[in-house]
Protein backbone atom coordinates (compact mmCIF):
# COMPACT_ATOMS: atom_id res chain seq x y z
CA UNK A 1 0.00 0.00 0.00
CA UNK A 2 2.57 2.54 1.11
CA UNK A 3 4.88 1.27 -1.59
CA UNK A 4 2.20 1.90 -4.19
CA UNK A 5 1.78 5.48 -3.01
CA UNK A 6 5.53 6.01 -3.14
CA UNK A 7 5.79 4.71 -6.68
CA UNK A 8 2.88 6.92 -7.73
CA UNK A 9 4.59 9.84 -5.98
CA UNK A 10 7.88 9.20 -7.70
CA UNK A 11 6.19 8.82 -11.06
CA UNK A 12 4.28 12.04 -10.36
CA UNK A 13 7.49 13.87 -9.67
CA UNK A 14 9.04 12.54 -12.85
CA UNK A 15 5.99 13.48 -14.88
CA UNK A 16 6.09 16.95 -13.39
CA UNK A 17 9.77 17.29 -14.24
CA UNK A 18 9.04 16.26 -17.80
CA UNK A 19 6.27 18.84 -17.94
CA UNK A 20 8.69 21.44 -16.60
CA UNK A 21 11.46 20.50 -19.04
CA UNK A 22 11.35 23.90 -20.71
CA UNK A 23 12.12 25.55 -17.38
CA UNK A 24 15.16 23.34 -16.91
CA UNK A 25 16.32 24.20 -20.41
CA UNK A 26 16.01 27.86 -19.53
CA UNK A 27 18.11 27.40 -16.41
CA UNK A 28 20.77 25.33 -18.10
CA UNK A 29 22.93 28.11 -19.61
CA UNK A 30 23.04 30.02 -16.32
CA UNK A 31 23.81 26.93 -14.25
CA UNK A 32 26.49 25.78 -16.66
CA UNK A 33 28.08 29.18 -16.77
CA UNK A 34 28.16 29.52 -12.98
CA UNK A 35 29.54 26.00 -12.65
CA UNK A 36 32.32 26.71 -15.14
CA UNK A 37 33.29 30.27 -14.30
CA UNK A 38 32.65 30.41 -10.55
CA UNK A 39 32.88 26.91 -9.09
CA UNK A 40 35.35 25.15 -11.39
CA UNK A 41 38.20 27.61 -10.63
CA UNK A 42 37.95 26.56 -6.98
CA UNK A 43 39.84 23.42 -7.97
CA UNK A 44 42.66 25.79 -8.83
CA UNK A 45 43.24 26.23 -5.10
CA UNK A 46 45.15 23.00 -5.41
CA UNK A 47 47.96 25.15 -6.83
CA UNK A 48 48.40 26.78 -3.43
CA UNK A 49 49.25 23.42 -1.87
CA UNK A 50 51.55 22.19 -4.62
CA UNK A 51 54.52 23.28 -6.73
CA UNK A 52 52.67 24.28 -9.85
CA UNK A 53 54.35 25.29 -13.10
CA UNK A 54 52.34 27.12 -15.75
CA UNK A 55 51.52 24.95 -18.76
CA UNK A 56 51.60 21.63 -16.89
CA UNK A 57 48.43 19.84 -15.75
CA UNK A 58 47.39 21.21 -12.35
CA UNK A 59 46.89 17.91 -10.55
CA UNK A 60 50.29 16.54 -11.61
CA UNK A 61 52.03 19.15 -9.50
CA UNK A 62 53.88 17.70 -6.49
CA UNK A 63 52.36 18.27 -3.04
CA UNK A 64 53.95 21.16 -1.17
CA UNK A 65 51.81 21.32 1.93
CA UNK A 66 51.51 24.67 3.62
CA UNK A 67 54.91 25.88 2.43
CA UNK A 68 53.55 28.85 0.49
CA UNK A 69 51.17 29.91 3.24
CA UNK A 70 54.01 29.99 5.76
CA UNK A 71 56.19 31.82 3.27
CA UNK A 72 53.74 34.70 3.08
CA UNK A 73 53.78 35.31 6.81
CA UNK A 74 57.49 34.68 7.40
CA UNK A 75 58.97 36.30 4.31
CA UNK A 76 59.76 39.83 5.45
CA UNK A 77 59.46 41.21 1.93
CA UNK A 78 55.90 39.97 1.74
CA UNK A 79 53.05 40.29 4.15
CA UNK A 80 53.69 43.38 6.25
CA UNK A 81 53.35 46.26 3.87
CA UNK A 82 50.68 44.58 1.76
CA UNK A 83 48.38 43.93 4.71
CA UNK A 84 48.98 47.44 6.09
CA UNK A 85 48.38 49.20 2.77
CA UNK A 86 45.25 47.21 2.01
CA UNK A 87 43.66 47.63 5.42
CA UNK A 88 44.54 51.30 5.92
CA UNK A 89 43.29 52.36 2.50
CA UNK A 90 40.16 50.21 2.47
CA UNK A 91 39.04 50.90 6.05
CA UNK A 92 39.59 54.64 5.71
CA UNK A 93 37.87 54.77 2.35
CA UNK A 94 34.95 52.69 3.62
CA UNK A 95 34.34 54.66 6.82
CA UNK A 96 35.09 58.11 5.38
CA UNK A 97 33.14 57.29 2.24
CA UNK A 98 30.04 56.35 4.22
CA UNK A 99 30.31 59.26 6.66
CA UNK A 100 30.71 61.76 3.83
CA UNK A 101 27.81 60.23 1.91
CA UNK A 102 25.66 60.35 5.06
CA UNK A 103 26.47 64.01 5.65
CA UNK A 104 25.98 64.77 1.96
CA UNK A 105 22.54 63.12 1.95
CA UNK A 106 21.43 64.92 5.12
CA UNK A 107 22.49 68.34 3.84
CA UNK A 108 21.20 67.67 0.35
CA UNK A 109 17.75 67.07 1.82
CA UNK A 110 17.84 70.57 3.29
CA UNK A 111 18.35 72.20 -0.11
CA UNK A 112 15.23 74.22 -0.84
CA UNK A 113 15.19 74.18 -4.61
CA UNK A 114 14.13 70.86 -6.04
CA UNK A 115 15.80 71.35 -9.46
CA UNK A 116 19.08 72.17 -7.75
CA UNK A 117 18.79 69.11 -5.50
CA UNK A 118 18.24 66.94 -8.57
CA UNK A 119 21.14 68.56 -10.38
CA UNK A 120 23.59 68.06 -7.49
CA UNK A 121 22.54 64.46 -7.07
CA UNK A 122 22.91 63.73 -10.79
CA UNK A 123 26.37 65.25 -10.82
CA UNK A 124 27.42 63.40 -7.68
CA UNK A 125 27.52 59.98 -9.31
CA UNK A 126 29.22 61.06 -12.48
CA UNK A 127 32.69 59.81 -11.44
CA UNK A 128 31.21 56.50 -10.33
CA UNK A 129 30.32 55.57 -13.91
CA UNK A 130 33.76 56.38 -15.26
CA UNK A 131 36.36 53.68 -15.79
CA UNK A 132 39.53 53.76 -13.71
CA UNK A 133 41.48 54.52 -16.86
CA UNK A 134 39.48 57.68 -17.42
CA UNK A 135 39.68 58.66 -13.77
CA UNK A 136 43.42 58.23 -13.86
CA UNK A 137 43.64 60.15 -17.13
CA UNK A 138 41.77 63.04 -15.54
CA UNK A 139 43.80 62.98 -12.33
CA UNK A 140 46.96 62.73 -14.37
CA UNK A 141 45.96 65.77 -16.43
CA UNK A 142 45.41 67.78 -13.26
CA UNK A 143 48.00 66.50 -10.79
CA UNK A 144 50.95 65.04 -12.66
CA UNK A 145 54.31 66.85 -12.62
CA UNK A 146 53.38 68.93 -15.64
CA UNK A 147 49.67 68.82 -14.88
CA UNK A 148 47.36 71.79 -14.58
CA UNK A 149 47.50 72.23 -10.81
CA UNK A 150 51.29 72.26 -10.67
CA UNK A 151 51.53 74.54 -13.68
CA UNK A 152 49.05 76.99 -12.17
CA UNK A 153 50.66 77.01 -8.74
CA UNK A 154 54.05 77.57 -10.31
CA UNK A 155 52.90 80.44 -12.48
CA UNK A 156 51.32 82.06 -9.43
CA UNK A 157 54.66 81.69 -7.67
CA UNK A 158 53.20 79.62 -4.85
CA UNK A 159 55.61 76.71 -5.35
CA UNK A 160 59.05 76.47 -6.96
CA UNK A 161 59.15 72.81 -7.89
CA UNK A 162 56.19 70.77 -9.03
CA UNK A 163 54.68 68.43 -6.47
CA UNK A 164 54.23 64.86 -7.65
CA UNK A 165 51.46 63.04 -5.80
CA UNK A 166 51.07 60.18 -8.30
CA UNK A 167 54.50 58.66 -7.77
CA UNK A 168 55.27 59.45 -4.17
CA UNK A 169 55.21 56.89 -1.36
CA UNK A 170 54.16 59.60 1.11
CA UNK A 171 50.99 60.52 -0.75
CA UNK A 172 49.68 57.11 -1.91
CA UNK A 173 47.26 56.53 0.95
CA UNK A 174 45.89 60.05 0.92
CA UNK A 175 45.51 59.95 -2.84
CA UNK A 176 43.61 56.65 -2.93
CA UNK A 177 41.38 57.49 0.04
CA UNK A 178 40.47 60.89 -1.46
CA UNK A 179 39.83 59.43 -4.89
CA UNK A 180 37.70 56.62 -3.44
CA UNK A 181 35.57 58.94 -1.31
CA UNK A 182 35.09 61.26 -4.28
CA UNK A 183 34.30 58.40 -6.63
CA UNK A 184 31.81 56.59 -4.40
CA UNK A 185 30.02 59.59 -2.84
CA UNK A 186 27.08 59.57 -5.22
CA UNK A 187 26.68 55.80 -5.14
CA UNK A 188 26.66 55.59 -1.35
CA UNK A 189 24.40 58.58 -0.92
CA UNK A 190 21.69 56.96 -3.09
CA UNK A 191 21.00 54.51 -0.27
CA UNK A 192 20.81 57.28 2.31
CA UNK A 193 18.63 59.45 0.09
CA UNK A 194 16.25 56.52 -0.37
CA UNK A 195 16.15 56.02 3.41
CA UNK A 196 15.44 59.74 3.97
CA UNK A 197 12.55 59.56 1.51
CA UNK A 198 11.08 56.82 3.70
CA UNK A 199 11.05 58.90 6.90
CA UNK A 200 7.40 59.72 7.73
CA UNK A 201 6.57 63.44 7.71
CA UNK A 202 4.93 63.13 11.14
CA UNK A 203 8.35 62.81 12.72
CA UNK A 204 9.36 66.20 11.37
CA UNK A 205 6.01 67.74 12.27
CA UNK A 206 6.26 66.44 15.81
CA UNK A 207 9.77 67.86 16.07
CA UNK A 208 8.60 71.24 14.78
CA UNK A 209 5.76 71.34 17.31
CA UNK A 210 8.37 70.77 20.00
CA UNK A 211 10.18 73.83 18.66
CA UNK A 212 13.02 72.07 16.84
CA UNK A 213 15.26 74.13 14.59
CA UNK A 214 16.49 72.74 11.30
CA UNK A 215 19.70 71.60 12.92
CA UNK A 216 17.67 69.79 15.58
CA UNK A 217 15.65 68.10 12.87
CA UNK A 218 18.77 66.98 11.03
CA UNK A 219 20.43 65.73 14.20
CA UNK A 220 17.47 64.20 16.03
CA UNK A 221 15.20 63.06 13.22
CA UNK A 222 17.09 62.50 9.96
CA UNK A 223 20.33 61.12 11.39
CA UNK A 224 18.85 58.44 13.70
CA UNK A 225 16.71 57.19 10.83
CA UNK A 226 19.81 56.61 8.72
CA UNK A 227 21.79 54.62 11.27
CA UNK A 228 20.34 51.20 10.26
CA UNK A 229 21.28 51.86 6.61
CA UNK A 230 24.73 52.92 7.75
CA UNK A 231 25.21 49.69 9.71
CA UNK A 232 24.09 47.49 6.83
CA UNK A 233 26.47 49.28 4.46
CA UNK A 234 29.31 48.98 6.96
CA UNK A 235 28.74 45.23 7.30
CA UNK A 236 28.55 44.83 3.54
CA UNK A 237 31.74 46.81 3.13
CA UNK A 238 33.68 45.09 5.89
CA UNK A 239 33.52 41.83 3.97
CA UNK A 240 35.64 43.38 1.24
CA UNK A 241 38.24 45.16 3.32
CA UNK A 242 40.89 42.89 1.86
CA UNK A 243 39.58 43.22 -1.68
CA UNK A 244 40.63 46.01 -4.00
CA UNK A 245 39.86 46.68 -7.62
CA UNK A 246 42.74 45.44 -9.72
CA UNK A 247 41.51 47.87 -12.42
CA UNK A 248 42.24 50.70 -10.03
CA UNK A 249 45.52 49.60 -8.51
CA UNK A 250 46.96 48.31 -11.74
CA UNK A 251 46.99 51.88 -12.97
CA UNK A 252 47.73 53.76 -9.73
CA UNK A 253 50.65 51.54 -8.68
CA UNK A 254 54.02 52.42 -10.17
CA UNK A 255 57.66 51.71 -9.38
CA UNK A 256 57.95 54.92 -7.36
CA UNK A 257 55.05 54.40 -4.97
CA UNK A 258 54.77 50.61 -4.82
CA UNK A 259 55.93 50.42 -1.18
CA UNK A 260 52.82 52.21 0.06
CA UNK A 261 50.47 51.54 -2.86
CA UNK A 262 50.68 47.77 -3.23
CA UNK A 263 47.53 45.96 -2.09
CA UNK A 264 46.65 42.25 -1.92
CA UNK A 265 45.13 42.09 -5.37
CA UNK A 266 48.08 43.80 -7.02
CA UNK A 267 50.53 41.68 -5.05
CA UNK A 268 48.78 38.52 -6.24
CA UNK A 269 48.84 39.80 -9.82
CA UNK A 270 52.53 40.71 -9.56
CA UNK A 271 53.73 37.45 -8.05
CA UNK A 272 51.47 35.26 -10.17
CA UNK A 273 51.39 36.75 -13.63
CA UNK A 274 54.49 38.94 -13.69
CA UNK A 275 56.90 36.77 -11.69
CA UNK A 276 55.26 33.46 -12.60
CA UNK A 277 55.03 32.14 -9.04
CA UNK A 278 51.51 30.76 -9.36
CA UNK A 279 51.55 28.58 -6.26
CA UNK A 280 52.65 31.36 -3.93
CA UNK A 281 50.27 33.92 -5.41
CA UNK A 282 47.35 31.49 -5.23
CA UNK A 283 48.15 30.80 -1.58
CA UNK A 284 48.01 34.54 -0.89
CA UNK A 285 44.66 34.64 -2.68
CA UNK A 286 43.32 31.82 -0.52
CA UNK A 287 44.51 33.61 2.62
CA UNK A 288 42.78 36.78 1.46
CA UNK A 289 39.51 34.96 0.75
CA UNK A 290 39.51 33.16 4.10
CA UNK A 291 40.21 36.34 6.09
CA UNK A 292 37.41 38.11 4.22
CA UNK A 293 34.98 35.32 4.99
CA UNK A 294 35.85 35.25 8.70
CA UNK A 295 35.55 39.03 8.83
CA UNK A 296 32.14 39.11 7.16
CA UNK A 297 30.71 36.41 9.42
CA UNK A 298 32.31 38.01 12.49
CA UNK A 299 31.05 41.54 11.85
CA UNK A 300 27.64 40.18 11.01
CA UNK A 301 27.52 38.26 14.30
CA UNK A 302 28.75 41.25 16.29
CA UNK A 303 26.21 43.52 14.68
CA UNK A 304 23.35 41.12 15.35
CA UNK A 305 24.34 40.95 19.01
CA UNK A 306 24.80 44.68 19.43
CA UNK A 307 22.17 46.29 17.22
CA UNK A 308 19.82 43.66 15.80
CA UNK A 309 20.96 44.61 12.29
CA UNK A 310 22.45 41.81 10.23
CA UNK A 311 22.66 40.47 6.72
CA UNK A 312 22.14 36.80 7.44
Amino acid sequence: MTQGVQVAGRRGTLQKMVRQRQLYMMLLPALASVAIFTYAPLFGWWMAFSDYKLGKPIFDAPWAGLKYFIEFFTDTAGAGHVILNTVVMNVSALVLGLVCALAFAIFLKEVRWKWFRRFVQSASFFPYFMSWVIIYAVIYALFSNDGAVNASLQSLGLIDKSINILGNPKTSWGLIITVDVWNILGYNSVMFIAAIAGIPDEQYEAARIDGATRFHEMWHVTLPNLIPTMIVLLILGSGSIFNSYLDQFFIFTNTLNISTMEVFDYYIYRFGLKLGNFSYATAVGVIKTLISLVLLVGVNWLSRKATDQSLF
Binding site: M26, S122, M130, V133, R214
Partner: protein
Protein backbone atom coordinates in the same frame (compact mmCIF):
# COMPACT_ATOMS: atom_id res chain seq x y z
CA UNK B 1 3.75 78.14 3.43
CA UNK B 2 6.89 79.51 1.83
CA UNK B 3 9.70 80.17 4.26
CA UNK B 4 12.28 82.89 3.93
CA UNK B 5 15.65 81.91 2.53
CA UNK B 6 18.04 81.89 5.47
CA UNK B 7 21.82 82.20 5.69
CA UNK B 8 21.89 78.44 6.16
CA UNK B 9 20.17 77.91 2.81
CA UNK B 10 22.73 80.07 1.05
CA UNK B 11 25.76 78.46 2.70
CA UNK B 12 24.37 74.97 2.20
CA UNK B 13 23.64 75.76 -1.44
CA UNK B 14 27.18 76.99 -1.95
CA UNK B 15 28.69 73.89 -0.35
CA UNK B 16 26.56 71.70 -2.62
CA UNK B 17 27.69 73.74 -5.60
CA UNK B 18 31.30 73.22 -4.56
CA UNK B 19 30.76 69.44 -4.34
CA UNK B 20 29.18 69.51 -7.80
CA UNK B 21 32.19 71.37 -9.16
CA UNK B 22 34.64 68.80 -7.77
CA UNK B 23 32.59 66.10 -9.50
CA UNK B 24 32.41 67.83 -12.88
CA UNK B 25 35.38 70.16 -13.21
CA UNK B 26 38.14 67.54 -13.69
CA UNK B 27 36.29 66.20 -16.72
CA UNK B 28 35.48 69.69 -17.94
CA UNK B 29 39.17 70.61 -17.77
CA UNK B 30 40.10 67.64 -19.96
CA UNK B 31 37.42 68.62 -22.47
CA UNK B 32 38.66 72.22 -22.55
CA UNK B 33 42.26 71.18 -22.97
CA UNK B 34 41.45 68.76 -25.79
CA UNK B 35 39.62 71.53 -27.65
CA UNK B 36 42.34 74.11 -27.07
CA UNK B 37 44.50 75.39 -29.89
CA UNK B 38 47.96 73.93 -29.23
CA UNK B 39 49.48 76.63 -31.44
CA UNK B 40 48.78 79.15 -28.67
CA UNK B 41 51.18 79.20 -25.73
CA UNK B 42 50.10 79.10 -22.12
CA UNK B 43 51.23 75.69 -20.90
CA UNK B 44 48.81 73.36 -19.18
CA UNK B 45 47.37 75.73 -16.62
CA UNK B 46 43.87 75.39 -15.25
CA UNK B 47 41.23 76.36 -17.74
CA UNK B 48 37.64 77.45 -17.47
CA UNK B 49 37.22 77.55 -21.21
CA UNK B 50 39.22 76.23 -24.20
CA UNK B 51 42.17 78.44 -25.13
CA UNK B 52 41.44 79.22 -28.74
CA UNK B 53 39.55 76.45 -30.51
CA UNK B 54 40.89 73.56 -32.51
CA UNK B 55 39.71 70.08 -33.38
CA UNK B 56 43.17 69.08 -34.58
CA UNK B 57 43.82 66.54 -31.85
CA UNK B 58 40.46 64.89 -32.57
CA UNK B 59 41.32 64.76 -36.24
CA UNK B 60 44.61 63.08 -35.37
CA UNK B 61 42.85 60.65 -33.02
CA UNK B 62 40.22 59.69 -35.57
CA UNK B 63 42.77 59.22 -38.32
CA UNK B 64 44.63 56.78 -36.06
CA UNK B 65 43.54 53.29 -37.13
CA UNK B 66 44.44 51.78 -33.74
CA UNK B 67 42.12 54.10 -31.85
CA UNK B 68 39.24 53.65 -34.28
CA UNK B 69 39.63 49.88 -34.18
CA UNK B 70 39.78 49.93 -30.38
CA UNK B 71 36.60 51.97 -30.34
CA UNK B 72 34.88 49.34 -32.48
CA UNK B 73 36.08 46.52 -30.21
CA UNK B 74 34.67 48.42 -27.24
CA UNK B 75 31.35 48.91 -29.01
CA UNK B 76 31.24 45.22 -29.94
CA UNK B 77 31.84 44.02 -26.39
CA UNK B 78 29.35 46.54 -24.99
CA UNK B 79 26.64 45.21 -27.32
CA UNK B 80 27.38 41.47 -27.46
CA UNK B 81 28.23 41.09 -23.76
CA UNK B 82 25.02 42.59 -22.36
CA UNK B 83 22.93 40.82 -25.01
CA UNK B 84 24.23 37.35 -24.08
CA UNK B 85 23.96 38.20 -20.40
CA UNK B 86 20.33 39.23 -20.89
CA UNK B 87 19.33 36.08 -22.77
CA UNK B 88 20.88 33.82 -20.12
CA UNK B 89 19.77 35.86 -17.10
CA UNK B 90 16.17 36.47 -18.17
CA UNK B 91 15.56 32.81 -18.90
CA UNK B 92 17.06 31.78 -15.58
CA UNK B 93 15.14 34.46 -13.68
CA UNK B 94 11.85 33.29 -15.20
CA UNK B 95 12.49 29.66 -14.31
CA UNK B 96 13.57 30.63 -10.79
CA UNK B 97 10.33 32.51 -10.23
CA UNK B 98 8.42 29.19 -10.50
CA UNK B 99 8.20 27.97 -6.93
CA UNK B 100 6.79 24.56 -7.88
CA UNK B 101 9.81 23.65 -10.00
CA UNK B 102 11.25 20.37 -8.74
CA UNK B 103 14.59 20.99 -7.05
CA UNK B 104 14.15 24.78 -7.01
CA UNK B 105 15.61 25.06 -3.51
CA UNK B 106 18.91 23.48 -4.53
CA UNK B 107 19.11 25.39 -7.77
CA UNK B 108 18.63 28.65 -5.91
CA UNK B 109 21.28 27.78 -3.35
CA UNK B 110 23.69 26.77 -6.08
CA UNK B 111 23.26 30.14 -7.78
CA UNK B 112 23.13 32.43 -4.76
CA UNK B 113 26.10 30.87 -3.04
CA UNK B 114 28.18 31.70 -6.10
CA UNK B 115 27.78 35.40 -5.30
CA UNK B 116 29.89 34.93 -2.18
CA UNK B 117 32.51 32.66 -3.72
CA UNK B 118 35.46 33.69 -5.79
CA UNK B 119 38.42 31.46 -6.46
CA UNK B 120 40.54 34.49 -7.24
CA UNK B 121 42.61 35.90 -10.04
CA UNK B 122 44.99 33.05 -10.76
CA UNK B 123 42.65 30.05 -10.75
CA UNK B 124 40.42 32.14 -13.01
CA UNK B 125 43.36 32.86 -15.27
CA UNK B 126 44.29 29.17 -15.50
CA UNK B 127 40.70 28.27 -16.32
CA UNK B 128 40.48 30.84 -19.12
CA UNK B 129 43.72 29.44 -20.53
CA UNK B 130 42.48 25.86 -20.31
CA UNK B 131 39.27 26.81 -22.09
CA UNK B 132 41.34 28.34 -24.87
CA UNK B 133 39.74 31.75 -24.44
CA UNK B 134 43.00 33.69 -24.21
CA UNK B 135 43.65 35.70 -27.33
CA UNK B 136 40.00 35.73 -28.36
CA UNK B 137 37.23 38.29 -28.22
CA UNK B 138 35.07 35.86 -26.20
CA UNK B 139 37.15 36.29 -23.07
CA UNK B 140 35.48 39.70 -22.69
CA UNK B 141 31.91 38.47 -22.79
CA UNK B 142 31.64 34.80 -21.79
CA UNK B 143 32.81 34.89 -18.15
CA UNK B 144 30.10 37.42 -17.25
CA UNK B 145 27.30 35.72 -19.10
CA UNK B 146 25.45 34.50 -15.99
CA UNK B 147 25.27 37.47 -13.67
CA UNK B 148 23.57 36.14 -10.54
CA UNK B 149 22.99 39.60 -9.16
CA UNK B 150 21.03 40.51 -12.29
CA UNK B 151 19.15 37.20 -12.17
CA UNK B 152 18.04 38.03 -8.62
CA UNK B 153 17.01 41.51 -9.70
CA UNK B 154 14.97 40.30 -12.67
CA UNK B 155 13.37 37.48 -10.68
CA UNK B 156 12.33 39.96 -7.97
CA UNK B 157 10.70 42.04 -10.68
CA UNK B 158 8.93 39.06 -12.26
CA UNK B 159 7.49 38.16 -8.86
CA UNK B 160 5.83 41.56 -8.62
CA UNK B 161 3.86 40.86 -11.82
CA UNK B 162 0.27 39.67 -11.35
CA UNK B 163 0.28 35.85 -11.30
CA UNK B 164 -3.16 35.64 -12.92
CA UNK B 165 -1.83 36.54 -16.37
CA UNK B 166 0.51 33.57 -16.53
CA UNK B 167 -1.96 31.16 -14.97
CA UNK B 168 -4.75 31.91 -17.41
CA UNK B 169 -2.36 31.52 -20.35
CA UNK B 170 -1.18 28.16 -18.98
CA UNK B 171 -4.77 26.99 -18.62
CA UNK B 172 -5.32 27.95 -22.26
CA UNK B 173 -2.55 25.50 -23.11
CA UNK B 174 0.41 27.85 -23.54
CA UNK B 175 3.86 26.40 -22.87
CA UNK B 176 6.37 27.95 -20.45
CA UNK B 177 8.34 29.27 -23.40
CA UNK B 178 5.31 31.06 -24.83
CA UNK B 179 4.42 32.57 -21.46
CA UNK B 180 8.01 33.73 -21.06
CA UNK B 181 8.32 35.28 -24.51
CA UNK B 182 4.80 36.65 -24.98
CA UNK B 183 3.74 37.68 -21.48
CA UNK B 184 6.59 38.00 -19.00
CA UNK B 185 9.36 39.44 -21.16
CA UNK B 186 7.35 42.40 -22.50
CA UNK B 187 6.34 43.32 -18.94
CA UNK B 188 9.95 43.26 -17.77
CA UNK B 189 11.12 46.08 -20.00
CA UNK B 190 11.92 48.53 -17.16
CA UNK B 191 14.15 46.12 -15.26
CA UNK B 192 15.72 44.82 -18.47
CA UNK B 193 16.53 48.36 -19.56
CA UNK B 194 18.18 49.13 -16.25
CA UNK B 195 20.22 45.94 -16.15
CA UNK B 196 21.26 46.27 -19.79
CA UNK B 197 22.44 49.82 -19.38
CA UNK B 198 24.46 48.88 -16.35
CA UNK B 199 26.02 45.91 -18.14
CA UNK B 200 26.90 48.07 -21.15
CA UNK B 201 28.71 50.56 -18.96
CA UNK B 202 30.54 47.74 -17.19
CA UNK B 203 31.71 46.32 -20.51
CA UNK B 204 32.66 49.70 -21.88
CA UNK B 205 34.75 50.48 -18.79
CA UNK B 206 36.68 47.19 -18.61
CA UNK B 207 40.28 47.07 -19.61
CA UNK B 208 42.03 44.74 -17.19
CA UNK B 209 40.78 41.63 -19.04
CA UNK B 210 42.61 42.88 -22.12
CA UNK B 211 45.80 43.26 -20.08
CA UNK B 212 45.43 39.79 -18.54
CA UNK B 213 44.30 37.70 -21.50
CA UNK B 214 44.85 39.61 -24.74
CA UNK B 215 48.15 41.32 -24.01
CA UNK B 216 49.70 39.78 -27.12
CA UNK B 217 46.73 40.58 -29.38
CA UNK B 218 46.72 44.32 -30.12
CA UNK B 219 43.91 43.77 -32.63
CA UNK B 220 41.63 42.96 -29.66
CA UNK B 221 42.49 45.98 -27.49
CA UNK B 222 39.43 47.95 -26.38
CA UNK B 223 39.76 51.72 -26.45
CA UNK B 224 40.12 51.90 -22.66
CA UNK B 225 43.22 49.75 -22.83
CA UNK B 226 44.66 51.85 -25.64
CA UNK B 227 44.08 54.93 -23.52
CA UNK B 228 45.73 53.19 -20.58
CA UNK B 229 48.80 52.55 -22.70
CA UNK B 230 48.91 56.18 -23.80
CA UNK B 231 48.89 57.37 -20.22
CA UNK B 232 50.81 54.84 -18.23
CA UNK B 233 53.20 53.33 -20.72
CA UNK B 234 54.00 55.77 -23.49
CA UNK B 235 52.23 58.60 -25.14
CA UNK B 236 51.87 58.32 -28.91
CA UNK B 237 54.42 60.41 -30.75
CA UNK B 238 52.30 61.33 -33.68
CA UNK B 239 53.17 65.04 -33.63
CA UNK B 240 55.46 64.71 -36.60
CA UNK B 241 52.91 63.06 -38.88
CA UNK B 242 50.24 65.43 -37.60
CA UNK B 243 52.34 68.45 -38.46
CA UNK B 244 52.80 67.10 -41.96
CA UNK B 245 49.04 67.40 -42.46
CA UNK B 246 49.03 70.90 -41.07
CA UNK B 247 47.51 69.77 -37.77
CA UNK B 248 48.93 70.97 -34.49
CA UNK B 249 48.66 68.66 -31.52
CA UNK B 250 50.79 67.36 -28.67
CA UNK B 251 51.00 64.01 -26.96
CA UNK B 252 49.26 65.58 -23.98
CA UNK B 253 46.47 67.02 -26.07
CA UNK B 254 46.00 63.75 -27.93
CA UNK B 255 45.68 61.93 -24.61
CA UNK B 256 42.99 64.39 -23.57
CA UNK B 257 41.03 63.99 -26.77
CA UNK B 258 41.14 60.18 -26.51
CA UNK B 259 39.92 60.52 -22.92
CA UNK B 260 37.00 62.62 -24.14
CA UNK B 261 36.20 60.18 -26.95
CA UNK B 262 36.22 57.32 -24.43
CA UNK B 263 33.95 59.22 -22.04
CA UNK B 264 31.45 60.30 -24.67
CA UNK B 265 29.36 57.10 -24.91
CA UNK B 266 28.83 57.11 -21.14
CA UNK B 267 27.86 60.75 -21.31
CA UNK B 268 25.24 59.93 -23.94
CA UNK B 269 23.51 57.31 -21.79
CA UNK B 270 24.09 59.21 -18.54
CA UNK B 271 20.57 60.68 -18.24
CA UNK B 272 19.10 57.16 -18.40
CA UNK B 273 21.76 55.70 -16.15
CA UNK B 274 21.18 58.17 -13.39
CA UNK B 275 17.41 57.91 -13.78
CA UNK B 276 17.42 54.14 -13.15
CA UNK B 277 20.05 54.53 -10.53
CA UNK B 278 18.36 57.26 -8.54
CA UNK B 279 15.00 55.51 -8.79
CA UNK B 280 16.54 52.75 -6.73
CA UNK B 281 15.71 50.01 -9.21
CA UNK B 282 19.27 48.71 -8.98
CA UNK B 283 19.82 49.57 -5.36
CA UNK B 284 16.70 47.71 -4.32
CA UNK B 285 18.28 44.35 -4.91
CA UNK B 286 21.07 45.01 -2.45
CA UNK B 287 18.54 45.31 0.33
CA UNK B 288 16.53 42.33 -0.88
Amino acid sequence: MKKKISTFDVVNGLVMLLITITMIYPFWYVLCYSLSDMGLTGGSQLLLWPRGFSLDSYQVAFSNATIVHGFLISVARSVIGPFLMLVVSCMAAFALSKNDLIGIKWIRRFLFFSMYVSAGLLPGYILIRMLGLTGTFWVYVLPGVANVFNIVLIRAYIETLPAGLEESAMIDGATYATVFLRIVLPLCVPVIAAVTLYACVGQWNSYIDAQLYNYRNPELYPVQYILYNYIAVKAPTKEASAAAHGLITTAHSLRMSVTVITTLPILLVYPFLQKYFASGLLVGAIKA
